[in-house]
């Protein structure tokens, strides 16, 4: 990055992973699906995000409604489109969405002012996104929800309890060894 672009404090409206160097990348590389999304970005040239008006919004509760998202995100500008991420099989919200604004500036402002704040009492994550296209699918889990909800071993009532793969394991164990063991 050119020195002229470097600010004295970090900017919050940069795409999350793309600008981070390799060294830093390792540190943040904690779980698999995060890595996947990074690999995806690495393959893309920087351009798709230059005028991005869409944001990926993550770590939503499964129960958060479009209206709630609208209420918060409209604080950064009129929303052109809001696409809820739905579970492939159950057609219910599975914890993420895309918010599209009319202008790039609104999207950047949203990164700066809303990303990392709370919605429905959960810290939400925003990331610039090249834009939603019909049929686009990433990081699918076996169960139809987000991959991160497959293997999560902490209980998260807002996102369906334990990770589904972990939950399956538990059920299997219970069947084999009896309840409560």
């Amino acid at each position: 990055m050119a020195t002229t672009m470097l600010t004295t404090v970090e900017r919050l409206d940069k795409p999350s992973a793309y600008y981070l160097g390799r060294n830093k990348k390792r540190k943040f590389d904690r779980d698999r699906d995060e890595r996947e999304s990074k690999d995806r970005r690495e393959e893309e040239p920087a351009d798709p995000l230059k005028d991005a008006t869409t944001l990926y919004v993550g770590n939503l509760s499964f129960y958060t409604t479009e209206e709630q998202i609208h209420e918060l995100f409209a604080k950064c500008g009129e929303i052109k489109r809001l696409v809820m991420g739905l579970d492939r099989y159950q057609k219910t919200p599975c914890g993420f969405c895309f918010v599209e604004y009319y202008t790039h500036q609104d999207a950047l402002d949203c990164m700066k002012y809303i990303g990392g704040t709370k919605l429905d009492e959960r810290i939400i994550r925003t990331d610039l996104d090249p834009g939603f296209q019909e049929g686009r699918q990433y990081g699918r889990g076996k169960s139809g929800g987000q991959v991160r909800d497959e293997y999560r071993d902490e209980y998260d009532p807002g996102r369906g309890g334990f990770g589904r793969a972990v939950e399956m394991e538990r059920i299997k164990e219970e069947e084999e060894y009896g309840r409560g063991r």
Binding site: G58, D120, Q146, D149
Partner: protein
């Protein structure tokens, strides 16, 4: 963890921190990372960036160490280039540190005068560039830097430039009484004087006093627009506003300071210990430099931000113990000025902003404030004549001053929300009580606050609580629950709860409220799907209503629905009802009911039904307003959803802005009581924003360089038409409100015979006046923006954009503005909005999973 402590290698070396958390790898087989010497340039950069941040380190020592390192490594271009760059950038991004960075340059000068000369040159360039661009905040900050190093200059240094600026200010002010740029220039001059007089330079008293004598006339004359930006509303019978021009007050304070030998006690003087050593003062004997050449152009640009006069606003002004410097103390202005510059300049990292706000005490003279997090009650016990100013209160106050800036702050309101949220996250124990007192002040003043500000308060309050588990001591307002609905306090409470619910859900919010408040959230609010009135067979046309909703649900073609609507119309006509209103009600209510699951659902219903909906407006204005009645009727318990749908219907041009205004301010004005409903304000406000934004986009399109003549002419026509429409709409709003504000509306008096009747009438009149003030201001601001923008010289085509932080305004200019009619534009939006609903009415959405 315990046995980790015993490990021999822990705790030492620069990497120790990292290892502490890896307590499970007793035998870490990863190759040890090679010891890494950080390059000096990096270490130095860190030192400079964090200058003055630590309350335990002596900043004077850091200043002289940095200067020494710089001087000793003058040959290293990495270091020198890095510093040149940092000086410029930190001046803009971290203005609180200007006196400290300037001190580095002061101390550096005796050791390496040639480097000091380079720094001056680069500051001079930056100043010149920003003067030409009209970036007046940046100009002010660079002049502040130059003022702080006044001791380096030959002659009277910065004063010559200030004189130049002053003569431009005089020209501007004589040319027009509405000029505000002249005021801004005077403000720059005054703040520069303050920092110059606190610098190491001496013998400038005469220059300062002479200039102050001259600025007095401009600074002390009340500006025409001052009333426009007063945060308080003054109605008939109110005491006249006590709000004072910040500039006028500051001028007075400086004149006082001149009499007190320029004590300026709050400003830091980090160069002092160096200069004050018993040997010969190295600063005084060091080489002097000529002041950098900075030319002030004959005509000055207003720049990207419109300029309005500044008034001093504090949320802590009425306490029995001072927790912030009062407006009668110059400290209030000096601190506020840099804090607001910090807030507005650092919008790209709210965490950093919040951190600087909390550290405010580090950047001013020691003992300006009490210790951080001193509880309010303890202030009383503090000894005698020392100030009792709490750094937290000063920080929070500065953030609120921006949130409550009229006509509009520099950034989106939500930025200031986020700053307060982060500050509260970093230091909850210190900040939360300060916020509590601010909230209480605002709540007490809610009747007096400008209505737009009252709504900003409302919006912030609900949003803030949503970030902190919706906890608020509601018990302290219990006494206000029984106030009439038109009372501003009651209106605020109801609206705040409603906003909280919109960010959460009814049951959750109910759970945060003490018993007396439970009644404010009726059961009906908790229903996801409000009742469909036609399901009740007592409702007229209930059977048709049910059938229509079923047809809409299964996406039947309009041809199947039409006969039912006709049936309703015939029956209605037979009962002497307006046929079209009756059928529209059934149609729109059904759409709302079928689409009640989410915004996407209702949008998809509207999309399917839009031909019929679009034909209603031209057929009958009353039917068009019936659409709003039906939407708001269906969502009566969740008016926020209704307002959202109305907003989308405007995009589809199914509704017109005029129909929304008429609906709220004529059809449903209800003797003016609707003015106390937050949703009504929101509806009108959002609608007018749409209208004004449209006009702004046209103007911005006209400002694009290299536009062909015929396109320009076309835009000119469009602008004229749209501007006229905008004027008519604002006029219409005013006409509606004038009746309420003056109480000429006969019905107002007719209210029930209870004793509250008269009081209610008074309150309603006041709502009318407060609404009027908001929309008059908004119209004035829009018109002045258009005039200002069109008067600017056209930008030169094919300008290379500079590698700098893009201004929001510039960005907007780049936005593609379609030149079609507003109608076409509306349709365009609609198609792209294409909601994702599949054939079964279930949401299809993005059929997938993780993108994390």
């Amino acid at each position: 963890m315990a046995d980790y402590e015993r490990r021999p290698r822990g705790g030492r070396g620069f990497n120790s921190r990292k290892r502490r958390y890896r307590d499970d790898d007793e035998y870490d087989r990863r190759p040890q990372r090679r010891r890494y010497e950080e390059p000096l340039a990096v270490t130095l950069r860190k030192q400079i960036l964090s200058i003055a941040e630590s309350p335990v380190r002596k900043v004077e020592e850091d200043v002289s160490n940095i200067a020494k390192t710089l001087a000793a490594n003058y040959f290293d271009t990495d270091i020198t280039a890095g510093f040149l760059h940092l000086v410029v950038q930190m001046t803009i991004e971290q203005p609180l540190k200007i006196p400290f960075i300037a001190a580095v340059v002061l101390v550096l000068n005796p050791q390496k005068p040639e480097f000091a000369a380079e720094i001056l040159k680069s500051i001079g360039h930056a100043t010149q560039k920003h003067i030409e661009a009209g970036n007046w905040r940046e100009v002010k900050l660079f002049l502040r830097f130059l003022a702080c190093i006044q001791g380096l200059f030959e002659g009277n240094g910065v004063f010559a430039l200030l004189e130049d600026l002053f003569s431009r200010a005089v020209d501007l002010q004589t040319a027009s009484s509405e000029d505000s740029l002249g005021l801004e220039l005077v403000k720059i001059i005054l703040y520069t004087i303050a920092y110059t007089m606190a610098s190491s330079a001496t013998g400038l008293e005469n220059d300062a006093t002479q200039l102050l004598d001259k600025t007095d006339i401009i600074a002390s004359t009340p500006h025409i627009l001052e009333n426009l930006v007063d945060p308080f509303y003054t109605g008939a019978g109110d005491e006249p506003s006590t709000t004072q021009s910040a500039l006028e007050l500051f001028q007075k304070h400086l004149q006082e300071e001149a009499k007190q030998a320029w004590e300026l006690s709050c400003l830091p003087r980090p160069w002092k210990s160096v200069a004050g050593s018993d040997e010969e003062d190295p600063l005084a004997s060091a080489q002097k430099h000529p002041f950098p050449t900075i030319v002030v152009p004959e005509t000055l640009a207003i720049g990207p931000r419109s300029i309005y006069p500044d008034v001093y606003f504090s949320v802590y002004s009425d306490q029995d113990i001072e927790t912030v410097p009062p407006a009668s103390d110059i400290t209030a202005f000096l601190v506020r000025d840099t804090l607001t510059d910090t807030i507005n300049g650092l919008d790209f990292n709210r965490n950093a902003t919040a951190k600087f706000l909390i550290e405010v005490d580090c950047y001013f003279a020691p003992n300006t404030f009490v210790r951080r997090a001193t509880p309010f009650d303890k202030l009383r016990d503090l000894a005698g004549d020392r100030p009792t100013w709490k750094p937290e209160d000063v920080a929070v106050d500065a953030a609120f001053s921006q949130l409550f800036q009229l006509p509009a702050p520099e950034h989106k309101l939500v930025y200031y929300h986020s700053v307060l949220t982060e500050a509260c996250k970093i230091a909850p124990a210190a900040i939360a009580p300060s916020l509590g007192r601010a909230i209480r002040f605002l709540y007490r003043s809610v009747e007096k606050l400008d209505l737009e500000l009252a709504h900003r308060f409302l919006d912030w309050f609900a949003h803030h609580l949503s970030n902190f588990g919706f906890t608020w001591k509601w018990t302290e307002w219990v006494g206000d629950i029984d106030l009439p609905d038109v009372h501003p306090k009651k209106s605020f409470m109801s609206a705040a709860l409603d906003k909280e619910i919109r960010l959460s859900f009814a049951q959750r919010i109910k759970g945060t409220l003490p018993e007396p408040y439970q009644a404010l959230i009726p059961e009906a609010k908790a229903k996801d799907t409000p009742d469909f009135k036609y399901a009740d067979d007592k409702t007229p046309f209930s059977s048709q209503g049910i059938q229509i909703s079923q047809l809409i649900r299964r996406k039947a073609p309009d041809a199947e629905i039409a006969p039912l609507l006709q049936e309703i119309e015939q029956e209605a006509a037979a009962h002497n009802l307006d046929p079209l209103l009756a059928s529209t009600d059934a149609y729109v209510t059904s759409i709302c009911y079928v689409g009640s699951k989410s915004l996407s659902h209702v949008l998809s219903c509207i999309e399917r039904c839009k031909d019929r909906l679009l034909s209603l407006g031209p057929a009958s204005p009353a039917a068009r307003r019936q659409i709003i009645t039906s939407v708001m009727g269906y969502w009566t318990n969740q008016p926020g959803v209704g307002v959202n749908i109305v907003d989308k219907l405007l995009n589809y041009t199914i509704l017109s802005p005029a129909s929304v205004v008429e609906w709220a301010l004529i059809d449903n004005v209800a003797r003016g009581t609707i003015l106390a409903k937050a949703y009504a304000y929101e509806m009108i406000s959002v609608t007018m924003t749409k209208v004004t934004k449209r006009v702004r986009q046209i103007v911005e399109a006209m400002r694009r360089p290299g536009l062909p003549e015929e396109q320009m002419a076309m835009l000119q026509d469009t602008l004229e038409r749209e501007r006229g429409d905008m004027q008519r709409l604002f006029g219409m709003i005013e006409d509606c409100l004038v009746g309420v504000a003056e109480g000429s509306n006969d019905e107002v008096m007719e209210s029930d015979d209870n004793t509250g009747g008269e009081e209610e009438a008074r309150l309603v009149k006041r709502w009318g006046g407060r609404w009027m003030r908001v929309f008059q201001r908004r119209y004035a601001v829009e018109e002045s923006w258009i005039r200002e923008e069109l008067a600017k010289p056209l930008p030169v085509p094919a300008e290379e954009p500079e590698a700098e932080e893009p201004e929001a305004e510039e960005q907007e200019k780049d936005e593609e503005v379609k030149m079609e009619d507003i109608e076409e534009r509306g349709e365009k939006r609609v198609r792209r909005e294409n909601p994702l609903v599949d054939t079964n009415g279930a949401m299809q959405g993005l059929e997938s999973d993780g993108v994390e």
